[in-house]
């Protein structure tokens, strides 16, 4: 549900079995003592890459909407996000 994947009937069993096998392999990580090991999120040494806050050209509204499945009045159109009261 969290991933908004929209499962088909039967999908749950199919993926549950495969994912269990993969998670069994992944469980070997628990063999390692990592209490005093810092995590690595990324490997580059560059940090805090900042730039001057100056206006620059960017995509036009028309370019940004060019691939939209549905657009109206310069906005992306989506179905209702609220239940009717």
């Amino acid at each position: 549900m969290l991933a908004r994947l929209g499962l088909e009937p039967g999908d749950e069993e199919f993926y549950a079995e495969q994912l269990s096998g993969i998670l069994r392999h992944i469980d070997r990580l628990q063999e390692l003592d990592t209490d005093h090991i810092p995590p690595t999120a990324q490997v580059v040494e560059v940090a805090n890459t900042l730039r001057e806050d100056e206006p620059r050209p960017c995509l036009t509204q028309a370019d940004a909407l060019a691939n939209a499945p549905a657009a109206v009045d310069g906005f992306f159109r989506v179905p209702s996000i609220q239940e009717e009261a």
Binding site: L2, A3, R4, L5, G6, L7, E8, Y15, Q18, L19, G21, I22, L23, H25, I26, D27, R28, L29, Q30, E31, L32, T34, I37, P38, P39, T40, A41, Q42, V43, V44, E45, V46, T49, R51, L59, D63, A64, A66, N67, A68, P69, A70, F76, V78, P79, S80, I81, E83
Partner: protein, 484 residues
């Protein structure tokens, strides 16, 4: 002379001597694609009009004497790299019809250098896979054996170069997706150091691991293409501002160099004897060229796959949240509410491997499991990086097989995801540690190509290329396109 079998260097000489033209090369390669690609299926789409314009411009530059080493050279681009106005789909149905409003930095730099874009190559959906069978469109076949996979995820790019359909091509490598197909298709392929090439305009899979790199027919060609793409780009905050020194000492040879041989990499599950023998022969050749082979250890090798299959899916589940049917691509316009629209779009648009990884990643990041999976995997990533740091204290580069196996039959691993994941067991460590790695062909086993992998410390592409070049010279290796 068959001009679809030459290297960039050889073609550049002919172009500058006016013995051929960019437009003639374009025509010959489109003919070759016409002849071979019905069997190989490397290309998803061709861009003949764009290519014709670029070839005309290249011929003008050649006439005016302003041509560079890539002017007029045909190239192919993996379907994950944005090319302005040209349909780019990441091998996925969910992006069918998407025409990017801009071109990514790496591709733009090659276009600016005069390369001619033939078209867009097939890949596993969102670059997730090791056989190109996960493409949302069709499978690509290995030019060395049409019943075999080309490897993946950049299988179309590797097969196009191997089949003589393109002189070079671009792929992306998140866990081995350049090096493994290069090995299986008998061409040269390189993943640069993380941060060497800008990822701007690359449709993201796992942002801390993805890198763009070339497929070529020689090590020299690989260095030329990499040098052209590399370098700082303000549009990618992880792209480092460092000297572009990848070609330094390319022809200096390996005399006096120490090459580390990690014992764990020769005993991985599923290592084929023919692959091991070919690689050991290559190592003896490097030794005979003056390198010293030293034993090194990468003790956490057995945990690499497990760490990778937390980190990569976690990052992908986050990156792929943007494919929701609102901004581009496939969309369910009949849904009653937004949640139903998301669900229907993603159900219809994503294939099973993508769904598997999004589920795995979402699970690993969810509260209650975060520490046990994602944080644990990041800590193990540190241990793997330390293994490499310690090994590189004893050696200049690490040599091994690229893939434990030669190209396997189509369909052989599609029912068992874990067996497919094991294809990358020798390459994914390089991604977790951010290292540059190259695969060069080192002979055949059962009539199929074997790849030698050279890994070097971060930012030492020059070392990896130099060792690969020394092997190429010592072995007399020449990438001959497989004739389908």
């Amino acid at each position: 002379m068959d001009l679809t079998r030459l290297t960039i260097g050889e073609l550049a000489d002919l172009l500058r001597a006016h013995e051929t033209s960019a437009q003639e090369l374009l025509g010959l390669h489109l003919e070759r694609i016409d002849d071979a690609d019905g069997d190989v299926k490397a290309f998803l789409r061709l861009t003949p009009q764009l290519a014709a314009e670029q070839a005309r411009a290249a011929d003008r530059a050649l006439k005016e004497g302003t041509a560079g080493p890539l002017t007029g050279i045909p190239m192919a681009v993996k379907d994950v790299l944005c090319l302005s106005g040209v349909e780019t789909t990441a091998g996925s149905k969910i992006l069918r019809g998407f025409r990017p409003p801009y071109t990514g930095t790496a591709v733009q730099r090659l276009i600016d250098a005069g390369a001619v874009v033939l078209g867009v190559t097939n890949c596993d959906e969102f670059a997730m896979g090791s056989s190109t069978e996960n493409s949302g469109y069709f499978a690509t076949h290995n030019p060395w054996g049409l019943d075999r996979v080309p490897g993946g995820s950049s299988g179309g790019s590797a097969a196009a170069v191997a089949a003589g359909e393109s002189v070079f091509s671009l792929g992306t490598d998140t866990g081995g997706s350049i090096r493994q197909p290069a090995a299986l298709c008998g061409v040269v392929g390189m993943k640069p150091t993380y941060g060497r090439v800008s990822r701007y305009g690359l449709i993201a899979f796992a942002s801390s691991l993805d890198q763009i790199g070339p497929f070529t027919r020689s090590v020299e060609d690989c260095a030329v293409v990499l040098e052209t793409m590399a370098g700082h780009d303000p549009l990618d905050a992880t792209c480092a501002d460092r000297p572009n020194d990848v070609r330094r000492g390319l022809d200096a040879g390996v005399r006096g160099m120490r090459l580390g041989v990690p014992k764990e990499y020769f005993d991985v599950e599923g290592m084929e004897p023919g692959v091991k023998q070919s690689v050991q022969r290559a190592l003896r050749m490097l030794e005979a060229s003056g390198a010293e082979l030293v034993d090194v250890s990468l003790p956490h090798t057995d945990y690499g796959l497990a760490a990778y299959y937390i980190i990569a899916p976690a990052e992908c589940s986050s990156n792929l949240a943007r494919f929701d049917g609102v901004k581009y691509g496939m969309s369910d316009q009949d849904a009653q509410n937004i949640t139903e629209a998301y669900m229907n779009t993603r159900r219809r648009g994503f294939g099973s491997e993508v769904r598997r990884r999004v589920m795995l990643g979402t699970y690993a990041l969810s509260s209650g499991y975060y520490d046990a999976y994602y944080l644990k995997a990041q800590k193990v990533r540190t241990l793997i990086k330390r293994d490499f740091d310690e090994a590189f204290e004893k050696c200049d580069a690490i040599v091994s097989a690229t893939s434990p196996t030669v190209a396997f039959p189509l369909g052989a691993k599609t029912q068992d995801p874990l067996s497919m994941y094991l294809c990358d067991v020798l390459t994914l460590g390089g991604n977790l540690a951010g290292l540059p790695g190259i695969s060069v062909p080192c002979g055949m086993s059962n009539g199929l190509p074997v790849g030698l992998q050279v890994l070097a410390p971060q930012w030492r592409e020059d070392t990896a290329l130099r060792v690969a070049r020394a092997y190429e010279v010592a072995s007399g290796m020449r990438v001959e396109p497989a004739l389908v």
